[in-house]
Symmetry: C2
Subunit: 477 residues, 2 copies
């Protein structure tokens, strides 16, 4: 038996001894699903998967790992897209999965707030507060599996950010187990609290590098009672953005989503879900999926109808269809989700998540697609995303005939081409997915010295032994 | 000449030598206005007031102070209410005033953003973006003097927080000069940017303890074209809060302000502005000043009229007046501002700024006022504030006959009585004003060890020599 294996086995035994058999998965077969990423691109291993049932359990697990000299990789629903929750040193890293901490601790509709444990699945939270007449507006494709702790760690975005903000804007308080096992109780639901530096802001988006989020206090809103959805055909992304600006003014703060899609989106969606029927007659160069919603005395239907009448008349929109029912509206959203599934079915491909300012978005996307078309004439390069946030997903789908080597080449070259343009436009190489392990090299490559010094100083201050999710976000020199 | 004075004079000379005569105020007469707080309760002194004209100047000033072993107190419009910008060690601390850095660098309506220097006055920013058809929604009494850098440092709140959030929610990016004089350029206007920990969050609300904010990228919104204001008489604070909950749902995301005022507010306002006429016939136990606004196709007037008709019919409101014009609306707001002036005219008095959850706000305020009435039967104790944020200002105005000793006793005893109740309700002793130097003792007294350890660790990590605004927020042990 070699030394590493011996050490791993000893560590497993020691963890079981300290935390109990029930809390620790030591069999690699049981561990496998925690060690694979969402897309199945990467498979790793781990010393152990610890599954605490309480904040106290997490604290104990952290102390045990510290004593045993093990690093910790916190994991939520494992739907992350940048390998933030997957060990890169399987013999030294323990996964702490929050999946058993899934209680809704409190829903207080009088306070427009809820307190939930980190392992609660986002869709379950939405359902639970809906039963109280409330809305928790975080919405993204993986919400049926993603846990709120992971959403906080990655500051998840999604399709409703233009109205409700990123996860950051929806978090009122946090409970966090720190690297030394102590518990920071910041679980307030106060709307205004200016008692010094806001510590919770540090943990939001830190991808588990500063501590483990164990519970979250969430901002709730009144549940919308009127939701209107429209699919619109427009002449270009440029027109889509002009339309967004007008909608931002004309529909005031009642617009909930404004998604841009290329014509190929429908083909991809139908490849994944063959029962889908094209909702709009005729082909258009670009499409917008728009949603307006509200509660109470506002008249959302009249608002959207009036808006569409005006913009059709002004030629900003070429054609459009408004969902006649909520079911039809949900059906329109199936194209948006189906497009992602269709891409996954095309095999290994390049996915990106970039943002630029809204003033330069059309130019940036058009230039990027042109460059990609030149570089990969046989691939399908598409751009779609959240117009209101300046956030585009620009992806390259290699032809079916491409072998894995060719696909890897396209991934590598394509990513660099896109990043170069992102830098030119002073954009972000990660708008909503985070840095994790996947994007760390690109992130560090362009990090200004003052920025890096601050990141490293903060990390060392809170985790002096470097035990929290090493390999994620930024490395100390 | 004693040693301290000698050192101070030497430091002044050294600063002038390094930074030039134009940049440094060394005469105590010229320094005086920077060393007094907004209410005139405290007067201090300083080694020098440095007034840089550029980010480079700030960087140079920071390096000079470091070389000379001087501490730095950043100062904006000096409208803070907790002595965050007033030196507590006049012989060792230099004020860096940002007042000369007052350029609007860019307004980009296509990006819904602006970039301004830290010394820009908030009201001037609002005016500048208004000319571009945009809204910068930060709004509070001192906005005509307060600078945006100070608003960022204190995470200023105000009257529109329920719709637009605190300053934090309005900041897209920052430029900061760090304690070692290096410049951190985080001046992006990106809506979504998940490249690791969000450093700007650290500086927002840090009250200049981690660096000096030199420029700010701001989120803009479409300028509202319809604004409706109403003053409503209700039976109690309890009813006012119930009304808020209903308005939150019925007026959806179009409510801009919902202020609670006691009957005495009108008396105080008229004491300060004798030309004010009571806008509502009859006396009511409590009042609500409510504003709904929007742009584009929403019909704000119909919305507010319909809402008021319903709540009058349901008995939630006893009487109300809707401003017939924007001028009348502004006039209603004069009572809200005049009430503050009226309090100031009553001489030294207790002012607080506390928050609790919305579910417990009515009970908390009623209990607190009861306790204050028992303790100070001859004083006028009033509560008013931002209902939607759970934020109340509970103040005690001693009788005219009270001498300064008696006033100081009321301040001391009253503050402790209020704080005890705030702690019982798990509220905040500083909802929107910050900690500064004034609230540091109370803040530190109740600081949980894990919380304090984090604050101290971060401060030491970023400012290892403890040179940034020492005495403010929290002391290292």
């Amino acid at each position: 038996m070699n030394a590493v294996l011996n050490t791993v086995l000893q560590a497993r035994a020691a963890l079981v001894e300290r935390l109990g058999q029930d809390a620790v998965l030591t069999d690699p077969a049981d561990q496998a699903r925690y060690c694979r990423d969402w897309h199945g691109d990467v498979a790793s291993g781990t010393v152990a998967v610890i599954r605490p049932r309480s904040t106290e359990d997490v604290s104990k697990a952290m102390r045990a790992c510290a004593e045993l000299g093990l690093a910790v990789v916190p994991q939520g629903g494992n739907t992350g897209l940048v390998l933030g929750g997957i060990p890169d040193q399987p013999d030294h890293q323990v996964i702490i999965s929050l999946e058993r901490m899934n209680r809704v601790r409190r829903i207080d509709e009088d306070d427009f707030s809820a307190v939930v444990e980190a392992g609660c699945i986002v869709a379950n939270i939405k359902e639970a507060v809906d039963a109280h007449g409330m809305l928790f507006p975080l919405g993204f494709g993986a919400e049926g599996s993603a846990q709120i702790g992971g959403s906080v760690g990655t500051n998840a975005g999604g399709i409703n950010v233009l109205r409700y903000g990123m996860t950051r804007e929806l978090v009122l308080g946090l409970e966090v187990v720190l690297p030394d096992g102590s518990i920071w109780d910041g679980l307030t639901t106060l709307r205004k609290d200016n008692r010094g530096i806001s510590l919770r802001q540090l943990f939001i988006g830190a991808e588990g590098t500063l501590g483990i989020v164990t519970a979250v206090a969430l901002k709730l809103l009144p549940r919308p009672t009127q939701v209107e959805t429209a699919l619109l055909g427009v002449a270009s992304l440029h027109d889509a953005i002009a339309l967004y600006r007008r909608a931002r003014r004309d529909c005031c703060d009642l617009m909930t989503a404004f998604e841009f899609m290329p014509p190929e989106a429908f083909m991809l969606a139908i490849e994944a879900q063959p029962d889908l029927k094209m909702p709009i007659a005729g082909d258009y160069p670009a499409y917008v999926l728009m949603e307006v919603s509200g509660s109470g005395l506002v008249d959302i239907k009249t608002l959207l109808d009036q808006f569409l009448e005006n913009v059709l008349e002004d030629g900003m929109v070429q054609d459009g269809v408004v969902a006649a029912s909520r079911a039809q509206g949900i059906n329109l959203w199936r194209f948006r989700e189906g497009m992602n599934e269709g891409q996954a079915m095309r095999g290994v491909h390049l996915r990106t998540d970039v943002s630029v300012s809204l003033s330069t978005m059309a130019e940036f996307v058009e230039r990027t697609l042109f460059v990609l078309k030149q570089a990969f004439p046989d691939s399908l390069s598409i751009a779609y995303g959240h117009v209101g946030d300046g956030n585009a997903h620009i992806n390259v789908l290699p032809p079916a005939s491409a072998d894995i080597a060719e696909r890897q080449r396209i991934l590598y070259v394509g990513k660099n081409l896109i990043n170069e343009l992102v830098y030119e436009y002073q954009g972000s190489i990660s708008a909503e997915h985070g840095i994790g392990r996947l994007k760390r090299p690109e992130f560090e490559q362009k990090l200004a010295p003052a920025h890096k010094a601050l990141l490293v100083a903060i990390r060392k201050a809170i985790d002096p032994e470097g035990r929290m999710n090493p390999g994620c976000q930024v490395l100390a020199d």
